[in-house]
Symmetry: D2
Subunit: 160 residues, 4 copies
C-alpha cells in the first residue's frame, strides 16, 4: 500500500493540490436549507479528478476506451462552510497516494478567490469492465511517476 503524503488542512491547500476546475452552484445542487446539498459535493470531486487527469494528458475516457475504470473504494468529505446558489467555486485536486493497484486523490473546494468550503479525499482501485481489480497499466504508472512528487509512491510500486 502506498504512503500518504499529506493531510488536507482546513483552509490551507496542500502543496500537492492544484486548481483544476471552476463550478457554478445550481438550483439542482441545493436543498431546502438553501445551501449546496452534502451529496452534491461528490459531483464536484468527480469533476476535480477528471480535470486533474486531463491536465496530466490522460483523460479518463482514454482508460475507459481500454476497459479500465477507477472504482471508488472510499470517499470522505468535510464541510467547512456552506456554498450558496450561484456561488462560483474553485476545485483543487491532487494525487496524494499511489501504489500498484490503488490511488488516493485529495480535494479542496473553495469560493473563487476565497474561503475553503470543503476538503475531501477519495480512494480508488483500478478495475476492468467486470469490476475486477487490475494493476495500473505501465503507461498510467509512467504518467503518475512524472505527475506526482516522488515520495507519493509507496514502497511497493518498485516491485510491480
Amino acid at each position: 500500500m502506498g504512503k500518504r503524503l499529506a493531510e488536507p488542512v482546513s483552509g490551507e491547500p496542500t502543496p500537492a493540490l492544484r486548481a483544476v476546475a471552476k463550478y457554478r452552484v445550481l438550483f439542482a445542487d441545493c436543498d431546502p436549507m438553501r445551501v449546496m446539498y452534502y451529496g452534491s459535493y461528490f459531483r464536484l470531486l468527480e469533476i476535480g479528478r477528471a480535470e486533474l487527469f486531463r491536465a496530466f494528458g490522460h483523460a479518463f475516457s482514454c482508460y475507459i476506451a481500454r476497459g479500465l475504470y477507477l472504482a471508488v473504494t472510499e470517499a470522505q468529505c468535510r464541510y467547512w462552510r456552506p456554498a450558496f446558489y450561484d456561488d462560483e467555486l474553485e476545485i483543487l485536486a491532487g494525487l496524494t497516494e499511489v501504489s500498484g493497484v490503488r490511488l488516493r486523490i485529495d480535494y479542496l473546494v473553495k469560493k473563487s478567490g476565497g474561503e475553503t468550503v470543503a476538503t475531501a479525499f477519495t480512494r480508488h482501485a483500478v478495475v476492468n469492465e467486470q469490476g475486477r481489480p487490475v494493476r495500473l497499466p505501465a503507461e498510467l504508472r509512467a504518467l503518475l511517476q512524472e505527475a506526482v512528487p516522488a515520495p507519493a509512491f509507496g514502497g511497493d510500486h518498485r516491485s510491480t
Copy 2:
C-alpha cells in the same frame, strides 16, 4: 405509429393509469425554493415505469439481461402544485400507446390521498446494447397485449 389513448387531465387520473409506487420527498430532491426541483420528477417517472412493468410481471431487469433497453425519446412534465420536503407522493403510471418499436407511458404524481402535483409522459424506443432501435420482442408484445386496453395498440402492430 400507435394511437394515443388518453390525454392526462389535471387532477384527474385517466382510467389507464394505476397507482404503482409511493415516494417520500428528500432534501436531495428539493431546491432553494424549498420545493421539489423540477428535474427531480424524472426520477419519479423512472420509478413509475419500472414498477408498472414489474406489476406486469416483466421487470426491466429481465430485458436488460437480454440486452434490451427502453431508450427515452421524449419526456414532458407539467407541474400543477409544488411538492415539499417529506411529502409522501403517489405515482400512477400507464401504457397509453404501443406500436412495433415505440411506447408511450403516462404518469400522474399526487400527494398521497390528495391533489395532483404533476402530470407527465415519456416516449420510448426499444434499443439494443448498441443503442440501435429493435422491434419489441414477441414476449413483450404479448405481455402488452394483455396489459393494455386493446385500442392502445396501433394499426401497425398486426404486421410485425
Copy 3:
C-alpha cells in the same frame, strides 16, 4: 398569454437561440446504457437559462435577492442522439415567449461543433418566496424588451 415565436426544429438552432454554456458529461450524469440519463438534461437546461439571464446582465441571483423566482410550470425534452461520458456539449438557449407573468425558454443541446443531441423548452411563472404568482417586475420587463425580438411580447404586456 404571450405568442410563441418559434418551434425548435431538430438539428437547426432557431435564430432566437444563442450559445450560452459548455458542459462536460460526467459519470454522475450517465446511466447503465452508458449514455446521459434522460433526467440529467434538466440540469443542462437550468445552466442554459441561468447563463442566458446572466448574459442579459440580470443573473437569477439578483431576483432571488429580491424574493423572486422563476418557477417551472412545464418542461419538455426531445432526445435526438445519445450523449456519452466526457462528451463536450454546447447549450443554446433563448427566450421565445413573454407575457406579464409567464416566460417560455427554448433550448438546444449539441455536441461541441457537431450534431444536435436534444431540443427542449421550459415554461415559467414568476413567483414570490411563498410560491405565489406575481407580475414581472418592471426592471425585468424592460430587460426583456431589449433582449427579446419584439414579436415575442404578447399583446397583454402593454396593459401591465
Copy 4:
C-alpha cells in the same frame, strides 16, 4: 464532545444499527460502469437518517417546522461491493454519538438479505434557519436519551 460508541465493521452490522428502509436501485443512480454511482449513496444515507428519526417518533419535518436543521459537517462512505440496477438494498442506521450540539449517525447498506454493500457515517451540527449552530432542543435531547444506549451521551450533555 460526545463519545463514539462503535466503529462500523465491514459486513457486520453493529448492534446500534437498525434496519430503517429499503431502496430499489434506479437507472438514475447508476453510472457507465453499470453500478451505483459513488455519490448516489449519500441519498441513501439521507433516507436512512430520515427514517431513523421517524422511527424515533420525531421526523425531521417537525424540526424544520421549528426552524432547526441537522447540517452535515462530515460524511464518509466505504464501498465494499457494487450495487447494480434494480438491486433491492436495505439501509440500516443508528445514532452512535451525541453531545450538546453534535450527532454522529452510522449506516450500513446491504443487499436485501445479503452482503454488505457500503458502510458510512455522517456527522451533524444542529443549526437554525441562518445556519448558525444551536444547542439541541430539550425535546430532541429527551428523545435521544430514550432512543440511544446510555453511553452514547457525551459528558457535556449534563451541563446543557
